[in-house]
Amino acid sequence: MDKKINIRSIDWEKIQTEKFIRTKRLRNIFTITAYIILTTWAIVSLLPMYWMFVCSFKHIGVSFSIEDIEFYPSNPTNENYINFLQLDAPPWISKRPVGRWFLNSLLIALLPTISNLIFDSMAGYALAKMRFPMKQAIFWAIVMTMMIPEIVILIPLYRMMFDFKWYNTYWALLFPGFAGVGGIFLFKQSIESLPTSIIEAARVDAASEPKIFFKIVLPLSKPILSVMGVFGFIGGWNSYFWPYLVTESNKLYTIQVGLTSLMGAGGGAGVTGTLTFGIDEYGQMLAGASMAAIPVIIIFFLLQKYIIQGITIGALKG
C-alpha cells in the first residue's frame, strides 16, 4: 500500500514554479534571438539607403578603388551635390534644370493625388452605400481592369498622346492620371464599414446625396483619405515609366526621369542599350538619388502611421 503515491505529498507549487522558470527562460532566449535576427535584417534592409547617403558625401573619382571603402565619410565633401546641381558650371553652359525637375515631380505627386481623392471617394461612396442599376457590373469592371498589366494600357495610351498632340507637354504628364479606378476599390471597402444607419437617417430627413457625401461620409473618411493621400503622393513622386515615355525635352522631366537621363538609361539615350556612365559620375548620381529620396523618406517618418495602416487595407478584411 505504501507504494501508492500520496497525491497530497506532491509539491505542486514547486512543479509550477519550475515550469514557470523554464518557460520564462525559453521565452528570454527566444526574445534575444528574435532581436538579434531582426536587428541584423534591419541593418541589411537599411544599408542601401545608408550607403547612398554616405557615398554621396565621398569623393568618388576614377582612381576610387575597393580599398577606399569606409562606412562613414572620413573627409566629407559636398562636391557631388555641387556637380549634380551644376552650381560651379560656367555660365555659357546650358545647365540641366534640376529645380524644374523637382517642381515637376511635386506637380505629378500633388495634382493627380488631390483630384483622385475627390473623384475616387465619390465613386467609392456610390458603390458602397447607394443602390442603382448596373452596380455589380460597374464594380466588377473596375476590379478586372485593376488586374490588367500596365504595359497593355501604356502602349495605346502612348500613341494616343501623339493623336491628341499632347506628347511632350504637361497635358500628357498629368492629365491621364487625374481620375481613374485605382483608388475606388479601397474607398469602397472603407466607406462600406461606415454605419449605414446614419446615412439612411439623413436620407429620411430628405438630405440630398451630395450633402450626405460632403457632410457625413467625407468627415468620417479622414483615415482612408489620409492613407490614400500619402500613397498617392509617394506613388506620384516615384512614378517613372509614364513620365519617361511622354517627355522629351528636359524641362518636362521629373527628378526620377532626370536622374536616369544622366544614367544613359532613359531620356532618349536608351536606344544604345548600355549604361553610359562610369565610376567618376557615380558621386553626383548618388547625390541626385539622395535628393530624390529625401522628400519621401521625410514623409515616411512623419506619416508612418498612415502608410502602415494603408498597406493592410484591401488585403485584410475588416
Binding site: A34, I69, I138, V271
Partner: protein
C-alpha cells in the same frame, strides 16, 4: 408612392453623377486603351505605317508563340526570376513577422518602420544604389566578400551571374510590405485559440502548423499572387542596370515588350505580347485562387 419613386430615381441619378467623372476618365484613358491594345494586336501598326495600319489577323500572335529563341526565352527568364524571388518574398516576411509579433508595441513599430523604409524610395533610386553596391570594381558586396576571404565577382556584368544578382537584389530589397501584412494578420488571430492549444499542451511546432499557418492562408494567398504578378512583370533591373544583357541573360518578358514597343516602335507586336502576358498572369492568378483560395473564417 410618388415621393418614394422620386427618391429612388434621385439615388440613381446621384450615384451615376458620383461615378461619372471616374468612369468618363477611365473610358478615355483606361478602357479605350485596353480595347485599342486588342485592336493593335491584330494589326501591323509600326512607326512606318502610322495612320494606315491594316488588319493582319493572328499573324502577330503566331509570330510570338512560335518564337522560341525570343518570346519563350524571355518567358523562361521571367519564370526563373519569379521562382527565385517569390519563395523568399513570402517566407522571409512570414518569418520576420513571426519574430516581431511577440515583441512590445514599441519594438514592433521600430522594426516595421526599418523594414518598410526602403519600400517608399523610388525604383530608380534603389536600382542606382544597388548597382553601386554590386559594382564589380568597387562594390560594397565585393568588399565584404574579400574581407571574408571570398573571391570578388563581376555580378550583373557576368552573363552567368546577372539574373542571380537581380534576384539577390530583390532579396535585399524591401520586404516591409509582406512583413506588415503578415504581422497585421498575426495580431488578428484571437488569443483564445492559442490558449485552447496550451491546455492540450501542443508544442509550438504543432501550434504553428495547426493554427497559425492555416489561419494565415488568406494573407499568404494575397502575398503569393501579388508577388507572382509583380515578378513576372518585373524589369526594373533590366531597365536600370543590365539593359537585358549581358549576353541576353536578363531579357525579361517586360523588357522584350518594352524594346519591341519603344525601341523598335512595333506597336502591334508589342501589344500582342502584352496581351499574351496578361493572359498568362490571369491563368496563374486563377490557379492560385483554386489552390489556396479556400475561405478561412476566424
Amino acid at each position: 408612392m410618388k415621393v418614394l419613386k422620386d427618391r429612388v430615381y434621385s439615388e440613381w441619378f446621384w450615384a451615376y453623377v458620383f461615378l461619372g467623372v471616374d468612369i468618363a476618365w477611365s473610358s478615355v484613358f483606361l478602357f479605350y486603351p485596353i480595347l485599342k491594345a486588342f485592336i493593335f494586336s491584330f494589326q501591323n501598326f509600326t512607326l512606318e505605317n502610322i495612320g494606315q495600319p491594316t488588319f493582319v489577323g493572328l499573324t502577330n500572335y503566331i509570330k510570338i508563340l512560335t518564337d522560341t529563341t525570343g518570346w519563350w526565352y524571355s518567358i523562361k527568364i521571367s519564370i526563373l526570376y519569379t521562382l527565385g524571388v517569390v519563395p523568399v518574398g513570402v517566407l522571409l516576411p512570414l518569418g520576420l513577422a513571426l519574430l516581431i509579433n511577440p515583441l512590445s508595441k514599441k519594438s514592433q513599430n521600430f522594426f516595421k518602420a526599418a523594414f518598410y523604409l526602403p519600400g517608399v524610395v523610388s525604383g530608380v533610386v534603389v536600382a542606382l544604389v544597388l548597382r553601386w553596391i554590386f559594382y564589380p570594381e568597387v562594390g560594397l558586396i565585393n568588399w565584404i566578400l574579400i574581407k571574408f576571404g571570398g573571391q570578388p565577382q563581376t555580378w550583373y556584368a557576368n552573363p552567368d551571374l546577372a539574373l542571380f544578382t537581380l534576384i539577390l537584389m530583390s532579396w535585399i530589397g524591401s520586404h516591409g510590405w509582406g512583413i506588415i501584412l503578415y504581422s497585421a494578420a498575426l495580431s488578428r488571430i484571437p488569443k483564445s485559440i492559442y490558449e485552447a492549444a496550451d491546455i492540450d499542451a501542443a508544442s509550438s511546432w504543432i501550434r504553428f502548423w495547426k493554427i497559425t499557418w492555416p489561419l494565415l492562408r488568406p494573407v499568404t494567398l494575397y502575398v503569393v499572387i501579388i508577388s507572382i504578378i509583380n515578378s513576372l512583370q518585373n524589369f526594373w533591373g533590366a531597365f536600370f542596370i543590365t539593359r537585358g544583357g549581358p549576353m541576353r541573360a536578363t531579357e525579361f518578358v517586360n523588357w522584350r515588350i518594352y524594346t519591341t514597343f519603344y525601341m523598335e516602335s512595333n506597336y502591334s507586336l508589342a501589344s500582342a505580347q502584352a496581351v499574351i502576358l496578361m493572359i498568362i498572369i490571369a491563368i496563374l492568378s486563377i490557379i492560385n485562387f483554386k489552390f489556396f483560395g479556400k475561405g478561412v473564417e476566424y
